[in-house]
Symmetry: C2
Subunit: 432 residues, 2 copies
């Protein structure tokens, strides 16, 4: 038999019990908060058709799709046709939860309330170059409001998300909100026409990494007028720190309605008792996904370089599936959040009493079973183990395992009981 590698396949990973317990605890907190806000959980399949995956404006992510090979006759035909990648595959693994949600809503909207507030927890897949802490399969937790064009949707999403982050023990993050249309109006004002906006915004998106001079040089290299671009950048950076930004826009005779909407969202968020977070209006929040149309937002934490949650409004996506409807969502970067919790040492784990009941299978079965049942009924964990020939080393191994769990951060309490002549007895161990 040839040797088979037992490592997870490239870019994938195993998750061990201690970590699964922490993840489940965090997920159950997030779930309960999201539910209390009226978001309802749905499930979509992990596999979608390639036309669907390519239809939603997933941008760069569409290049990272894991494609599923055709089978049988279909494959034979494709190969004989001398065909390449797209002809060999017809379905693939989802790269986000938003494109499948669009399809789900289009397929099922007649059975759903309006607005529909959805919650999705699921793995997504991207064939990226694996790096430390970056896997090709990762969990996303999304909430979305479908069918509400008003700013209540943004408020619901941001207030539920910050509330969920608080619930799992995260503090000190900030929420930045923007409306891409403000930036578009400003760009028009400085003479940049709509077709150049995409390139303009890609360069502006770098302002959180490099200074405005570097961005200006990049814009000039890409053919933008130096004077206009310089004035635009100077207004933008001033605007970002300007307290009375509404007046600043009016002074430039740029429409103020989109900013007024943002100000209402900010006001509403400050009224929301749960999940308070610093809320900033930041015209430089752009977000990469090309399906966003207006509102965009992200939640970040000073301890973490990138954002831990992000989202926006994608009012045009559903039209592609013949069900025009406004839509808005936010996605929690669950892997990053778990990493942040671990770094801040606030990741809570369960605190359970775990008892191993050692017994003699010849005549102690009933007593051992009853003991285990009682422990389980009272909320504890009980494992039965037959008495080994060498009882001493059996106990030593149990102790060593408990100590290892402790060293991995477990807060569980470990007990060993031995069924003896007088019934079950707890023995003293070092691992409690």
């Amino acid at each position: 038999m040839s040797k088979v590698s037992v490592n997870p396949t490239r870019g994938m990973r195993d998750i061990l019990p201690e970590e699964v317990a922490k993840r489940n605890l965090a997920l159950s907190s997030i779930r309960s908060v999201y539910r209390s806000y009226g978001f309802e959980e749905i499930e979509t399949p992990i596999v979608e058709s390639l036309p669907l995956l390519g239809s939603g404006g997933g941008g760069e992510n569409e290049k990272l799709i894991f494609k599923i090979l055709k089978r049988g006759e279909k494959l034979q035909e494709a190969v004989e046709g001398g065909a390449l990648e797209d002809l060999l595959a017809e379905s693939g693994l989802r790269f986000d939860l938003t494109v499948p949600l669009g399809r789900f809503y289009a397929a099922n909207h007649h059975r759903l309330p309006r607005p529909f507030k959805s919650c999705q927890i699921g793995n997504v897949f991207r064939a990226e170059r694996p790096q430390k802490g970056r896997y090709r399969q990762f969990l996303q937790v999304d909430i979305d409001v479908l069918g509400d064009e008003g700013p209540q949707a943004e408020v619901d999403l941001l207030s539920a998300a910050t509330s969920a982050l608080h619930k799992i023990g995260l503090e000190g993050f900030e929420t930045r909100i923007n409306d891409r249309r403000i930036l578009e109006d400003l760009a028009e004002k400085f003479g940049f026409s709509a077709p150049t906006h995409k390139q303009l915004f890609i360069s502006l998106d770098k302002l959180d990494k490099v200074d405005s001079q570097a961005v200006l040089e990049e814009l000039v290299t890409r053919g933008f007028d130096r004077v206009a671009a310089g004035e635009f950048l100077s207004v933008l950076t001033k605007f970002a720190t300007e307290t009375d930004s509404l007046a600043a826009l009016a002074e430039l005779s740029v429409p103020t309605e989109h900013l007024e909407r943002l100000l209402w969202v900010k006001e509403a968020l400050s009224q929301s008792v749960e999940g308070s977070s610093d809320v900033l209006i930041d015209p430089l929040v752009i977000r990469g996904m090309s399906y966003y149309t207006s509102s965009v937002f992200e939640i970040s934490h000073p301890k973490w370089g990138t954002s831990i949650a992000g989202g926006g409004r994608y009012d045009d996506m559903l039209e592609r599936y013949q069900v025009a409807s406004p839509a808005c969502g936010i996605s929690l970067g669950f892997e990053r959040i778990m990493g942040l919790l671990a770094e801040m040492k606030v990741a809570r784990s369960s605190e359970v009493s775990k008892t191993t009941v050692i017994y003699d299978p010849i005549d102690q079965l009933r007593v051992a079973s009853e003991t285990a049942s009682k422990i389980r009924e009272s909320g504890g964990v009980a494992s039965l183990q037959m008495r080994a020939k060498n009882l001493g080393s059996q106990i030593k191994r149990l102790e060593a395992e408990a100590l290892q769990r402790r060293s991995e951060g477990s807060k569980d309490r470990f007990y060993i009981w031995i069924v003896g002549r007088q019934g079950p007895e707890e023995i003293a161990t070092e691992a409690k």
Copy 2:
């Protein structure tokens, strides 16, 4: 823009909120029972390498693997080599949770206790012909004991599984246990050599669907001796109903140790206070998977044609991954169980109060936010909705949606509050 189908891709399905809620409730019950027995949850990736997926004795299921197409240069090379399916793919979607568990244990056993009692909840994928109630992606819930060769493993698995089934409201099922070695010893006794056993057992497996005469004819067609096969079948069917089967075996001078082990398991299960179920020793329980080596078992319910849980011992699998270790597991057919619960109308759903708070965004934001917060804090679900221009039709729509949920079996209570001059007021609705 070309029209994109919004149906789930072939053999896949969407799961709507009402059903997700029921599934989550059942899963959380099963999880808590499994945890109380000391099973610890792990996660393995959905994607595994093809050599791994093909290494574990998955039998027929290996033909149903969804293969993931190679990408970029690797694909180019494969196609230029004039290569077919296996050369175009190097990874695929898991078809069960057992093969990945074997790999997981081999990769991580040095960090795990011994025995390791694992719990895995995850989707598996099989490219089968889609049928009613049979999907290409479905959820399995597995528990396994790795590193224990004794019968305590079988007792733990069966008692935890029946206990979990009780917890979610299922009653009246029966557990049938067997040891393939008993059948092998008996077959030897009647002159059938080991190489013929596989074919013999495939025919015997049909005894629950056709009568023993039909099975005899099939055996004869396949070249088995009519007289020996007839006697074998008559002993087998008698043995299945024989109360003193131990004496029956002894009388035939067939070794009794495997049966004695089964009798101990049966005795131990009857001692287990939780999850009592009728336990039968049935020499005709064989199970399809070729990786099983000795114990095999299934749990079935008279209302359902096939079994709802099945498993067995696969002591040889881990040797293939260079970590020889006894192993035993049971898998709950979660989709079948949910179907059975629905049919028996015992599927419990949550009973939550769901309130929509309607408010005027101009001056009622604070009152509405506070009202929603209070409802959420007291365990209810609150959604804010801005007052529509036509309040009457806004209320009618909310009522209609609540009535539809009721008709789908929801036990939630629906309320509508309207923020008025005197603060929030509940309005009378028909949908409570």
